[in-house]
């Protein structure tokens, strides 16, 4: 406990912990929907396509986060259309968009003259250098996610559980799906600053996957996933501070260890459920 107070003396650590709390909320709410709707791969595609926007940001000399938001929104709506309209193999198309986004980002950066100082931070995260303005952006995104998830909660649940039934009941499934993908785009860009593009999907899904094993409903799963995400982020940050390791990696390793442990006890949980 004294160690924690010690850490809080530094403004960069206070900001980092605050950023961890802010992304955890988005991570718990949206990660739960990603896990139950089984769209982890699409979310990965959106995250990687966003890298094209980061490159574009560098190229145009604007904030790369804005570019990332733009590209993730484009990717989200594109993948929504692909998933729902096309008869092609959707996983192939998503894989292609995934790679094209990355390649665009790399090319834009190549075309940009000068030194690219913190480009790596978008790949591996830079929670220790999160600027104050980005914390406000995160808070805004959190509020937007909470607002939309609350307004469309029953539709999001219905579409996640049984899309066909929801369609027959004339729930606007297509619109709800695009809203969900858009929220995933926002969440991914926000989390990218903390754990980096490469590890974003792991942090998005592992707390939710653990919560899914114990929660008795989507709302409780969201709360549980948020709490777990806070725990993993804080523990990971402290490890990173004391062991002088990359924070994104320590956060993911903490989450991964917890997830593997939950998989190990899973058969017992399911058995208890079956005999309920």
């Amino acid at each position: 406990m004294a160690g924690l107070l010690d850490v809080l003396q530094f403004e960069f650590m206070r900001n980092a912990l605050l950023a961890g709390l802010l992304i955890s909320l988005a991570c718990g709410v949206i990660g739960s929907l990603v896990v139950i709707k089984r769209i982890v791969f699409i979310s990965g595609g959106i995250a990687h396509a966003a890298y094209g926007g980061i490159g574009l940001g560098y190229f145009l000399g604007i904030n790369p986060v804005l570019g990332a938001i733009l590209f993730s929104l484009l990717a989200a709506s594109g993948m929504g259309v692909v998933q729902r309209k096309t008869v092609e193999r959707t996983d192939t198309i998503i894989g292609a968009m995934w790679a094209i986004g990355m390649a665009l980002g790399i090319t834009f950066v190549d075309l940009t003259p000068g030194y690219k100082d913190n480009l790596m931070s978008y790949l591996f995260g830079s929670i220790l250098t999160v600027p104050r303005i980005d914390l406000w952006i995160m808070l805004g995104v959190d509020l937007l996610i909470l607002l939309l998830a609350t307004l469309f909660y029953k539709e999001l649940l219905a579409v996640s559980f049984d899309e066909t039934f929801a369609t027959v009941q004339n729930v606007p499934v297509g619109a709800i799906y695009v809203i969900l993908l858009t929220l995933i785009g926002f969440t991914v860009v926000m989390m990218m600053q903390v754990v980096g593009l490469i590890m974003v999907i792991a942090l998005l899904t592992m707390p939710a996957a653990i919560a899914a094993q114990y929660a008795r409903g989507l709302k409780r799963m969201m709360v549980g996933a948020t709490a777990l995400s806070v725990l993993f982020t804080v523990v990971g940050l402290l490890l990173s501070y004391y062991l002088n390791l990359t924070s994104g990696a320590t956060i993911i390793l903490v989450s991964g260890a917890a997830y593997l442990a939950s998989l190990a006890v899973r058969p017992f949980v399911l058995a208890r459920r079956a005999h309920h």
Partner: protein
């Protein structure tokens, strides 16, 4: 081919005048690019009908279902529900899908699944209210699982899960229940319980049941059709050898006249046996 006329028993429909069809499938052709799955399908369901459609796998059962639910546009012909186009009127169809095993892992209670029957009816930006709660409770009571409302779907048996899906469909206040293989993953005793339930529901709702399980269908429904690209339907409970041979395209050992039927492929040409019981 003409639309089939029914000589239905008097209905309890609210309108005192002649009842109008609940579902009309008229000269329907359906399928996918380069592949016609259904040809010239005609089917009319009147209030309180209980129609079972059987057919071999790949015979077009799920395609017919998709067209009726408005998930697949017809290539030719028309489907109407309560005289209206499918797109608007499908919300009057209580759809009971085949059970999907992956649902076991979805963290959701029986009550929350049944509530999904109200989501589309209530509309966007409106919370479910106490009237919805009453309808959901009544639906769960009808299928006799109200006491399980707090359970997770993963904690239920196959038969109980099927009842949840029926309750969800009933919560939509449907004019017709459309059931897809309702007993595909349950043991015979549970199966009998579910057909018993459907029989009771049929006292005030029209039922259309699609299955490959001929034994169950022919024992409980009022009329039977055989589907294999074309629909062989004679408004009768009797499954004729012609219907079966046309649908299954193999010689059929037939047990007729409203008793439990079995299908046994017979490889000795010209030999059929008829068996009467009870």
């Amino acid at each position: 081919m003409m639309l089939m006329e029914t000589n239905n028993e008097p209905t309890t429909c609210s309108a005192p005048s002649a009842p109008s069809p609940v579902l009309e499938v008229e000269r329907l052709w359906a399928g996918y690019p380069g592949e016609i799955v259904l040809e010239e399908i005609n089917l009319t369901l009147w209030p309180l009908d209980y129609v079972g459609i059987i057919g071999p796998n790949g015979g077009g059962k799920s395609t017919l279902l998709k067209v009726i639910l408005g998930l697949l546009p017809p290539l030719r012909g028309e489907v109407r529900i309560l005289g209206q186009p499918v797109g608007v009127a499908r919300k009057h169809v209580g759809y009971v899908p085949q059970y999907v095993e992956s649902d076991r892992q979805f963290p959701i209670t029986v009550w929350d699944v049944a509530c999904m029957g109200r989501v589309g009816q209530r509309g966007l930006l409106h919370r479910l209210n106490s009237a919805d709660d009453d309808l959901v409770a009544e639906a769960l009571r009808q299928v006799e699982i109200l006491s399980l409302r707090g359970r997770l779907m993963g904690e239920l048996s196959g038969g109980q899960r099927q009842r949840v899906y029926i309750a969800r469909a009933l919560a939509t206040q449907p004019r017709i229940l459309l059931l897809d293989e309702p007993t595909s993953s349950v043991d015979p005793q549970v199966k009998a319980g579910i057909y018993d339930l459907l029989h009771r529901l049929n006292e005030h709702i029209t039922l259309l049941l699609i299955s490959h399980d001929m034994g169950a269908i022919s024992s409980f429904v009022k009329t039977v059709g055989c589907l294999n690209r074309r629909l062989f339907y004679h408004n009768d409970k009797l499954i004729t050898a012609d219907m079966l041979e046309a649908a299954y395209q193999c010689p059929i050992d037939l047990i007729a006249h409203g008793l439990p039927h079995r299908v046994l492929p017979d490889h000795r040409p010209g030999v059929t046996s008829e068996e009467e019981r009870g």
